[in-house]
Point group: none
Chain length 463, copies 2
């Protein structure tokens, strides 16, 4: 491993230059006008995979954006890693809040700023460079590896499940490795053993055929922008508890050991609040902030649009009002079950003075694994070797729905080994990645292959 | 009066041709590129006022568009009318929805289509032609008249109040006449005796410094888009009643006679609902639709904006959320008093988990006159003579702030004598004016001067 690690140290600057090129491609999967950029990014990704020495690299077409696949299967008798990541990125609006252009990666204060730096191109690239280092220095990997990178993670991975279901043979492996999450905190590397699920909706209300003058008609008809406020307000009580009947029925309670573990983590509420710039933290009572974010479900509003939103005043009763909302779910809530509960409840609380349309957008299963799983333990050792300290075990508030699919369809455990930082603005302006963590992450990834290579290729217990 | 009315009948076609020339001037006050057109229109208006026999016609310069003034003061001992109107027009977008060019007036089916046809050039011109008929046939008017026409009505009349305050002597009169509103319905001429006022705000909530990933942070902080819904929901109860403490304290109750008058009006709720395309009509219980719109205050939301509003799904906790809201006011609510009540209440109901900014945008006084006021009764007789039927007395849900200014600064009652129709698209494509109403309106205006001329010139009670 020394030669591999030396190679990584020597090539540090080159890695940053190459990453910049990767980050320059505006692969925004949500926006149709960027479809060609997403494809170009898939092709760039495939080319890079060939360059670092992976074999049989192909673009698998889907009804949406292509899935890039490549492999290296020369480590006979060793386990096989299925590495999953994504090459698509979030939209960049509001653009005027970016301190440097989102697709011109810029290094400031040891961090690289660009859309996709942390989520997920930077972390995918970290694995590419670890693979490259092994293959350049030893002409082999200590483990077999299959790489699957999708271009629709930021829009709900609509075509990924079908791809996995249709390629069970191709994707057969022993463990899934994913680096698409932050570590617990700067200087506190972590292995994630639990994720929240999601169910996402758009609510549209229509009051009248067209906008009305509020002088001539104010008082005669329901105002859909106001009704939307009323409907949303009924989703949570003033204590932050979701009011949808049955919503909490399947929630697996936090174990005492978990709560104790969480309490030991170096988490400073005051500092956390300050970094976010919130006047106060707020959530369900009887739970700590970490418990609320990792182990409790939520209801959130993501967007509101209605009527006149420019500068100035216009006295219009809007014809329509729109909200985007979602619920984060925890084990053992089922997205489909919760979606139905939500839809029924919205229909119930929306007055008949407006026309309601509820559109189910996407969803994902919550997930949790045992942290004494041997692959999880191998990852913990690799992180310790890369970052110089033992990782903590945490859960995550976000969703990586594919983790549940890998478990259900391929019967594979997942190791979530993320090196982003919690304040790296993954879906916001000024997304960034700490280059120190990027570098340590490449080393840790190189060790991860080594550590997993030492395990037998027998299927490990899942779950 | 016979000679005057004969003259009007004889000149019917000429009036339409002249009105077409007036409507050809694109005097869009909102658009800087039309500033020269607005001035040209002021000059055309002044020239026309001289042509019909008014004296001392001048353009009063303002920081914006000029105010045109002219007078005829030869009716010694008779009352003086202050006629107010405006020569500016609304923008014409979306242009592609116009069936004929907005500034090439076109007659179809007995209606003249053009921007400004109803609002307000057509109605101003109706008075010009009534004045002309009197002066041509009898060399005098039965009443003194002062004409004030502004060029900024469609952009908030920013310079009108100052002009009125600086010209109290010049504008001294007995009654204000305004023709800038629709009649109750086709075939139902009306005199408007009440208007609502307004107080308008923008509410901005900030939750955090920047947008957050709802997976990583959902549950830890308040979501300003959700809080905005909570705040708005507390503005009205489920019955449509405004919950701001003290909001209704100054509301002058509807008199039994008014309610009885409203009930007699030919108003078809079913048809009204159908035209608006609303699933149901909705408002405060114990009030009819007309009562709600004309005589009850409201709270309306005009715009909502927060977070992600494009197609698709983005899991963001928005940093900020914005709403535009206003309250329509009725006598004797004071805009400043209600504004303060609203601001206090918003501050009270907004949780301390978000930062609140409330911006007061603009306001206007509600207004009401007695319909047994002698000038109002004179106008009613004139309308009956012009249209062949007794007008109904109605109120209006909209605001004409200058009416309150005339009352406060000049201590003058107003007669709102409008001959537009409710569906004449005053601020929309295909604005039009019914030529039958235009012609009857000229006759009614001629009778209005005659009827008011018969009253003594003593100041009438205001209010």
């Amino acid at each position: 491993m020394n030669a591999v690690i030396d190679f990584i140290h020597t090539n540090r600057d080159r890695y940053v230059d190459e990453l910049k090129a990767y980050l320059a491609i505006p692969s925004i999967s949500a926006l149709p006008e960027h479809a060609a950029d997403v494809r170009q990014c898939a092709e760039w990704t495939a080319e890079e995979m060939r360059r670092i020495g992976l074999h049989d690299v192909v673009l698998h077409e889907t009804p949406g954006h292509p899935i890039v696949y490549g492999e290296w299967l020369g480590a006979e008798g060793a386990p096989t890693i299925l590495f999953y990541g994504h090459y698509d990125v979030q939209p960049v609006d509001p653009l005027d809040l970016w301190e440097s252009p989102p697709f011109e990666a810029t290094v400031r204060g040891g961090e690289i700023y660009a859309r996709g730096a942390a989520d997920d191109k930077g972390q995918v690239f970290m694995h590419f460079k670890a693979i490259e280092a092994h293959l350049r220095q030893t002409s082999k990997l200590p483990v077999n590896i299959k790489v699957v990178l999708e271009g629709e993670e930021e829009v709900g991975s609509d075509n990924l499940d079908a791809f996995i279901n249709e390629h069970v043979e191709l994707l057969a492996a022993d463990v899934v490795v994913i680096s698409d999450s932050p570590m617990f905190d700067r200087g506190v590397p972590s292995i994630c053993y639990g994720l929240r699920g999601l169910t996402y909706f758009q609510i549209d209300l229509r009051g009248t055929k067209s906008d009305l003058h509020s002088g001539s008609f104010g008082g005669a008809v329901a105002n859909p922008a106001f009704v939307l406020g009323q409907v949303l307000a009924q989703m949570k009580d003033r204590g932050g508890r979701v009011k949808i009947p049955g919503f909490y029925d399947a929630v697996r309670p936090l174990r005492d050991e978990e709560r104790a573990e969480f309490q030991k983590l170096p988490f400073n509420e005051k500092q956390y609040r300050k970094v976010l710039g919130a006047p106060k933290l707020f959530g369900e009572k009887d739970y700590s902030t970490l418990e609320r974010v990792w182990a409790r479900p939520t209801f959130e509003v993501h967007g509101l649009l209605s009527g006149f939103t420019d500068d100035g005043a216009k006295t219009v009763i809007p014809a329509v009002a729109m909200a985007k909302v979602s619920m984060r779910l925890v084990p053992d809530q089922q997205p489909d079950v919760i979606a139905k509960l939500f839809e029924d409840y919205v229909r119930k609380v929306t007055p008949r003075t407006v026309e309601l349309t509820v559109t189910r957008m996407h969803g994902g299963q919550p997930w949790m694994t045992d942290f004494d799983n041997p692959y999880v333990q191998a990852a913990a050792r690799a992180v310790e070797l890369g970052f110089g300290q033992r990782p903590v075990f945490n859960r995550e508030g976000g969703s990586i729905p594919v983790v549940a699919t890998f478990q259900q369809v391929l019967d594979l455990p997942s190791v979530l080994f993320g090196i982003g930082l919690p304040d790296e603005h993954a879906h916001a302006p000024n997304e960034r990645l700490d280059l120190g963590n990027f570098h340590s992450g490449i080393i840790a990834s190189a060790f991860l292959y080594d550590e997993i290579g030492r395990l037998s290729g027998e299927p490990a217990p899942t779950g």
